[in-house]
């Protein structure tokens, strides 16, 4: 019961964007090209986490990786008290830095002939491929993300990624359909990422096909003139479903 309560409270607690009136303002903060966010992590945190992430392929998203990150940058075991959420702070670091790195990884020439859906696909796949070195640890990461106290921040970051992808694909509309598009893309991304954790095919070819299929399913991608009720309905009905699609055990 407390779970469903807190999920319903998500739009308010997970981002500053719950009010229609603030759509313009809050969307802008996601556009990392035009309005680079202030560095997402303060310097000392960033130093330790950047080093810790190097240890993840070996140690997973664990307290041990955070400690290794601290020690290899001249910090102490005790210094990891800087991260009250432990492994989750490291996971968030991965989510945020890979989202921000997307714009450097995928660029479309101004005269690109690719359609919107094609571009979205390329971006989604590029983001997924950024998980390849740590894919063996990603189910563990999803476990941490499904802890009740981490769900709001995890879903907020998923939403940020969807916004970033739509923006980089060239969709600049600011209207009610934004909520629908955000929700659809979040769902496609979340299920693809979960699919990838069990994908054994060379170069994750199966995952790429999966993304293609899912984007094809969502026929209305980018086209739906979604309204306010879509948004409310999505949070009421799909917040939990989305969390599950993302492999969260809720």
């Amino acid at each position: 019961m407390s779970l469903s309560l807190s999920l319903r409270a998500l739009p308010r607690s997970s981002s500053a964007c719950s009010h229609i009136a603030s759509v313009q303002v809050c969307r802008r903060t996601y556009y990392s090209i035009h309005h680079p966010d202030p560095p997402p992590f303060p310097p000392v945190q960033a130093t330790i986490l950047a080093s810790a992430i190097q240890h993840v392929p070996r140690l997973g998203f664990t307290q041990a990786a955070v400690t290794a990150g601290a020690q290899s940058t001249g910090y102490l075991e005790a210094s990891t008290l800087l991260f009250p959420r432990g492994p989750f702070d490291l996971i968030r670091y991965h989510l945020v830095t890979e989202r921000l790195a997307l714009k450097d990884r995928v660029q479309f020439p101004a005269d690109s002939k690719l359609g919107l859906t094609e571009k979205v696909k390329k971006l989604v796949v590029a983001r997924l491929i950024a998980n390849k070195d740590i894919i063996g640890h990603w189910q563990g990461a999803l476990g941490h993300m499904s802890l009740l106290e981490n769900i709001p921040a995890s879903l907020a970051e998923l939403g940020n990624l969807a916004d970033e992808i739509w923006y980089l694909a060239g969709d600049k509309s600011v209207d009610f359909s934004w909520y629908t598009k955000r929700a659809q893309l979040s769902a496609v991304y979340a299920s693809s990422e979960t699919f990838m954790t069990t994908d054994q095919s060379p170069g994750f070819r199966d995952t790429e096909e999966f993304v293609e299929r899912r984007l094809g399913d969502a026929k209305t991608v980018g086209g739906a003139a979604g309204g306010f009720t879509d948004y409310v309905g999505w949070w009421a009905g799909n917040g939990l479903g989305l969390a599950r699609a993302w492999g969260m055990k809720v």
């Binding site: 303060p42 945190q45 940058t73 102490l76 075991e77 210094s79 008290l81 009250p84």
Partner: protein, 311 residues
């Protein structure tokens, strides 16, 4: 709920009555020495003033007065903490130590932590930390130095340490000293500095923070558990009535010592708010943890602040 809260004091009074025979004498003794000190020092010699509860007193005098308060209650201070925390300070201390997770998780003796527990008085926090290091992290080498300005409190700690497994293991150390100046502790030598329910009594809190910064290794952690400011106005109204109304009265009835209890209540009220104290910690050079940077306990009756000394 209200009934539970109301029930506690009577039990606490009953507890406190047991210790009654010893406290008035301890108090009158220390009161006498305090008066002697007061007679020696004319306030005019040093007109820097500080707060003693809501009274303003010369700084030089506060140290003596704080000493008097804690001597007078050296063995009944647990009761006082029970009253101020509505009976839950032990849970806060457990939580404090658990979040600090003291002790090394790598088994080598060279990675053991050096911990300094300031205002450590009766050893409450120190014993918990050694228990945690030993039982949770399997670390048999981490050491704690318990330091307190008041030799009586420290003697009580020493006495209580005999009942712990650490009595003659070399893992416990006792040091009489003022947190504002710790000349016998080397710079850059400590992994974790803790202070629980102590810092609000310090005359110069900024000096104590600077001293904490000095003795900590780069990357070392300052951690403070202290009474703080309640964040809901309704609860605040209740808690103020309780602390200002009932506690000094209970102190009067139980220990014949209204002033000491009055002082405790007022020193809490005077203590900086959560945000102010966080700013003080940052001004001393520390970096606050990710997130809000502090953790309220029981609606803000107490609060845990941490700071990391950057490399």
């Amino acid at each position: 709920m209200a009934a539970r809260v109301l029930l506690r004091p009577s039990r606490l009074i009953a507890q406190a009555v047991n210790i009654r025979p010893s406290s008035p004498r301890a108090f009158s003794l220390s009161m006498r020495s305090f008066q002697q000190q007061e007679a020696r020092q004319s306030p005019a010699q040093d007109d820097r003033t500080t707060h003693f509860g809501f009274e303003t007193v010369p700084e030089s005098e506060k140290e003596a007065r704080v000493g008097a308060v804690f001597s007078s209650v050296a063995s009944s201070y647990d009761t006082m903490n029970d009253l101020m925390s509505l009976g839950i300070h032990r849970l806060w201390k457990d939580h404090f130590v658990r979040t600090l997770n003291p002790g090394s998780r790598t088994a080598s003796p060279t990675s053991a932590w050096s911990i300094l527990d300031i205002a450590g008085g009766t050893g409450d926090i120190a014993f918990r930390m050694l228990d945690h290091a030993t039982n949770i992290n399997g670390d048999l080498h981490t050491k704690v130095t318990i330091s307190d300005i008041n030799p009586d409190m420290l003697a009580e700690g020493k006495k209580r340490s005999l009942a712990t497994p650490y009595a003659s293991t070399g893992r416990l150390d006792f040091l009489v000293g003022n947190a504002e100046k710790l000349p016998s502790i080397e710079s850059n030598s400590i992994d974790l500095y803790t202070v629980a329910f102590g810092i609000r009594n310090f005359t110069d809190k900024d000096a104590a923070l600077r001293e904490a910064f000095r003795v900590l290794k780069p990357g070392g952690v300052f951690a403070c558990l202290e009474f703080s400011h309640v964040d809901s106005s309704l609860f605040n109204a209740f808690y103020k009535r309780w602390s200002f109304g009932a506690i000094p009265l209970i102190g009067q009835v139980v220990a014949g010592d209204r002033d000491s209890y009055q002082y405790l209540v007022e020193s809490i009220e005077r203590f900086p708010t959560q945000e102010e104290f966080k700013a003080m910690i940052e001004r001393a050079g520390f970096v606050a943890p990710a997130g809000v940077g502090y953790e309220n306990l029981t609606g803000g009756i107490a609060c845990i602040h941490k700071g990391i000394k950057p490399v």
